[in-house]
């Protein structure tokens, strides 16, 4: 092949590629603008009807052409995220009457991942307990987005039977992100507490037990205090689980937890657990908690001393007294105490101003 031929070929290829890109950009821009305008026009017509349906008892939706069905579904789903109570029920009923849940269940088995994920999301919004099994299967989908959508939707449906599959999705070859499972379990509500208590004490993986501790705390599950204290005090337990148990005990706020949390402040315990226990004691509050936190102001680990100092105002006047005593003493403990007192006084000033 001669140089001229190579030149011509390269030049033509590059020119054609550039021309094709320019054409693609121009066509896409025009098509997107037209699509957006058409969508806006249709939305302008449909949205008021949906709002009336959601807010008025006897409202009915006019007949919507089949080709507008997808847009109607998207609009209704968007509104579902923003409404509660009867308005939400009206929209869910609309979508169910239109067969959206049935269609979504069917789409869960289709090849396209985005379609399966969108179907899973829709089932979470309008599905019923009958769809839990389908969504549980999707927790093992080959696509990460589908798995995450299924986890979110299981949370929305609030079925206790989904707790173990959700926690199980933290481990294995096809996982769901930790944050997604957490939010899913939170959304499922207090009905999940019995299963979570079992998972806390008997699940084989650290991630599962950590998750259970955190969510139990977020649910304010007082009945789980015993199990959480056990996990916190078990020296063979993983640091992540111990720290999560401490955090949960702080959220629950049971006075039963004060002594176990105090024991976790021992210098032999890992720093992460000690910091979590200090914060938890501040959340539980009270004079005994203040007494346990006081010595930590002089702890050589900055994070521990700082956590203790910032937790003390949460213990009320007893905590403030401890801080004032340490200010007088000076040193590193005095510095932490001065900081915490100054911040507490600012907060108090703001409360008084309100």
């Amino acid at each position: 092949m001669s140089l001229r031929q190579v030149l011509t070929g390269a030049g033509v290829a590059i020119l054609l590629a550039n021309a094709a890109l320019l054409l693609l950009v121009a066509v896409h821009h025009v098509a997107a603008a037209l699509r957006a305008r058409r969508r806006a026009r249709v939305q302008e017509v449909l949205r008021p009807h949906l709002v009336r349906l959601a807010t008025e008892e006897d409202a009915e939706l006019p007949i919507v052409p089949r080709r507008r069905g997808t847009l109607l579904e998207l609009l209704a789903l968007d509104m579902l995220r923003k409404v509660r109570g009867e308005a939400r029920e009206a929209l869910v009923e609309l979508l169910r009457d239109r067969g959206s849940a049935r269609d979504a269940a069917r789409r869960l088995g289709r090849p396209g991942a985005l379609g399966r994920a969108a179907a899973a999301e829709l089932l979470g919004a309008v599905g019923s307990r009958d769809d839990v099994a389908l969504l549980r299967d999707r927790l093992h989908d080959r696509n990460a987005e589908v798995r995450a959508a299924a986890a979110r939707s299981l949370g929305h449906l609030g079925d206790d039977g989904a707790v173990r599959p959700l926690v199980g999705a933290l481990d294995g070859p096809r996982t769901v992100p930790y944050g997604t499972v957490t939010v899913g379990l939170l959304r499922a509500g207090p009905a999940t507490v019995p299963s979570l208590r079992e998972i806390l004490t008997g699940w084989p993986t650290v991630a599962g037990r950590t998750m259970a501790a955190e969510v139990l705390g977020l649910h304010g599950a007082v009945e789980a205090t015993g199990e959480l204290v056990d996990r916190l005090g078990d020296p063979s337990e993983a640091v992540e689980v111990q720290a999560a148990a401490a955090g949960a005990l702080g959220r629950i706020g049971s006075p039963r937890a004060v002594e176990p949390l105090g024991a976790a402040l021992d210098p032999g315990t890992g720093q992460r657990v000690r910091v979590a226990a200090a914060r938890a004691l501040g959340a539980v509050g009270g004079a005994r908690a203040a007494g346990l936190l006081g010595p930590l102001l002089a702890d050589p680990a900055h994070e521990v001393a700082s956590a203790a100092a910032r937790a003390l105002p949460g213990c009320g006047s007893a905590g403030i007294d401890v801080l004032r005593a340490h200010v007088v003493g000076g040193g590193a403990a005095g510095a932490h105490a001065r900081e915490a007192l100054a911040l507490a006084e600012l907060r108090a000033d703001r409360s008084r101003a309100v």
Partner: protein
């Protein structure tokens, strides 16, 4: 064989070598762009689903400290801090480090947020050279801390003071003039939530804010700037900082996270000793050291990139300021590669050492030498009749045409992938800028980089120089934003 023949042969060989270099460079970029396109489409399709809301509503998600070093930022600082405080994120604090400002940076902050001096305990987790003079918090209840320190002329030192003063496990390091989209923090933190044990650092996209309308610290209308110097940088940032970095991240080879917007695990920053105040390219140096530490200790880790998390920043609109910036970047890259030379082409450091750093050495650092020499060589060869006209045309078609193709492709990927509501005129101007970027600007840029490399080799310490700030416009029309 005459001397002329010998010179002609040597020139011929050299020119073919340079042509091969251009083909290799542009092909590497093409691979990165294609990888990035796939990644971006995936991320954007993901946004249609409700993933981000999980980060927002997750009460056990990581709290974030937004660290903002500031030196003489009086025109922009209050609005910038308000914007950071208004970011959509469940739990955050903003730590401003007033690095010895000589204007009223601190005073305007104090007045706007009713700052009160509080004796905060700031541990020296990472070394800080400039003495901390005082610490302040807001009486209004904002999660805002202002640290006043003596300036050592180093942004890295101010960053380190911010690391020490922050309280949360995730740090978002931003520039004082950075404008983040409302959800940028939610988006950029998501990898930490999804993979908390492995993700140690995440970068976001940097875009030029020039010409756009900024309302109360948020970009409300995206517009192209008027000066062509800035317009070309818009396309350049798209290609290099959005698609290039997304492509590298997809290959697990992200070496640079911009200092204007980078998110890190605080414990990892402390482990590697924070930023190096002696480094000009302190952002690249930091990430290189993180890679090195993780690999030396054989710890599983990931440095991620979220293309949808956007930070808008002001780019230079004058050639003098731009040239200074690019020379500094080249010196910074030289410093980093020298400091971490043990990693270069060392398989012990995996893809970073084996592929990415050699790429930066050959194509980014030494590339300008070859690029300029090649152009000069071909032109001179043509002038003296030593170079075949066909070859010269091939050279320019490959060097410029292929480069134009990549720039146009970048605009196309952004148009199709992001589907921003953009005026047709702006799109057309972007495409023109994509062409102009490769004819004239690129060669000028190579000259600056060459100059920067020379300065680095000579060990010349040249300061940052002043950046001309126009401040944020508040609902000002684009025409009046730039001087």
């Amino acid at each position: 064989m005459t001397v002329r023949d010998l010179v002609g042969d040597a020139l011929d060989g050299f020119n073919w070598f340079v042509l091969g270099y251009f083909v290799a460079l542009n092909t590497v970029y093409l691979v990165l762009l294609l990888g990035a396109a796939r990644d971006i489409v995936g991320q954007l399709r993901r946004r249609v689903l409700t993933g981000e809301e999980d980060v927002f509503v997750n009460p056990v998600g990581p709290a974030v400290s937004v660290v903002m070093p500031a030196h003489d930022e009086e025109p922009v600082i209050v609005e910038a801090v308000r914007a950071m405080l208004g970011l959509r994120y469940p739990e955050l604090e903003v730590v401003v480090v007033d690095d010895g400002s000589t204007d009223r940076t601190f005073e305007v902050l104090r007045d706007a947020f009713e700052l009160e001096e509080v004796p905060l305990v700031v541990p020296e987790l990472v070394p800080v050279r400039g003495r901390i003079r005082s610490t302040w918090v807001s009486r209004q209840g904002h999660p805002l801390t202002v640290v006043r320190k003596e300036s050592t002329g180093s942004k890295a030192d101010a960053n380190n003071a911010g690391i020490n003063a922050s309280r949360h496990p995730i740090l978002c390091m931003v520039d004082a003039d950075a404008v983040l989209d409302e959800d940028s923090l939610l988006e950029v933190v998501e990898p930490f939530v999804d993979d908390p044990l492995r993700v140690v650092a995440v970068g976001g996209t940097i875009r030029a804010v020039n010409g756009s309308v900024v309302t109360r610290g948020r970009v409300s209308e995206v517009r192209l700037p008027r000066p062509w110097v800035a317009r070309i940088q818009v396309v350049e940032y798209l290609r290099a900082f959005l698609l290039g970095r997304a492509g590298w991240a997809r290959l697990r080879g992200l070496l640079i996270i911009s200092g204007a917007f980078g998110v890190f695990r605080r414990d990892v920053l402390v482990e590697v000793g924070g930023y190096d105040p002696a480094s000009i390219g302190e952002d690249a140096d930091l990430v290189a050291r993180i890679h090195r530490r993780m690999r030396d200790e054989r710890r599983p880790y990931r440095v991620a990139f979220v293309s949808s998390a956007t930070c808008w920043t002001e780019v230079p609109e004058g050639l003098d300021v731009l040239g200074r910036q690019r020379r500094r970047w080249a010196r910074g890259l030289f410093q980093v590669l020298v400091a971490q030379r043990r990693m270069v082409a060392n398989p012990r450091y995996g893809r970073i050492g084996g592929v990415v750093m050699p790429y930066y050495l050959v194509f980014e650092l030494l590339g300008p030498v070859l690029e300029l020499a090649g152009v000069v060589s071909v032109v001179a060869g043509l002038a003296f009749g030593l170079v075949d006209v066909d070859f010269a045309l091939l050279f320019f078609v490959v060097a410029f045409g292929y480069g134009i193709l990549l720039s146009v492709a970048s605009v196309a990927i952004e148009e199709v992938g992001y589907q921003r509501d953009r005026r047709a005129r702006d799109l057309a101007v972007s495409l023109v800028a994509a062409v102009v970027e490769n004819v004239g600007y690129r060669q000028l840029h190579s000259w600056w980089r060459l100059h920067g490399l020379w300065q680095g080799l000579r060990g010349k310490d040249v300061g940052w120089g002043p950046m001309v700030r126009t401040g944020f416009a508040t609902e000002a029309p684009p025409d009046r934003r730039t001087p």
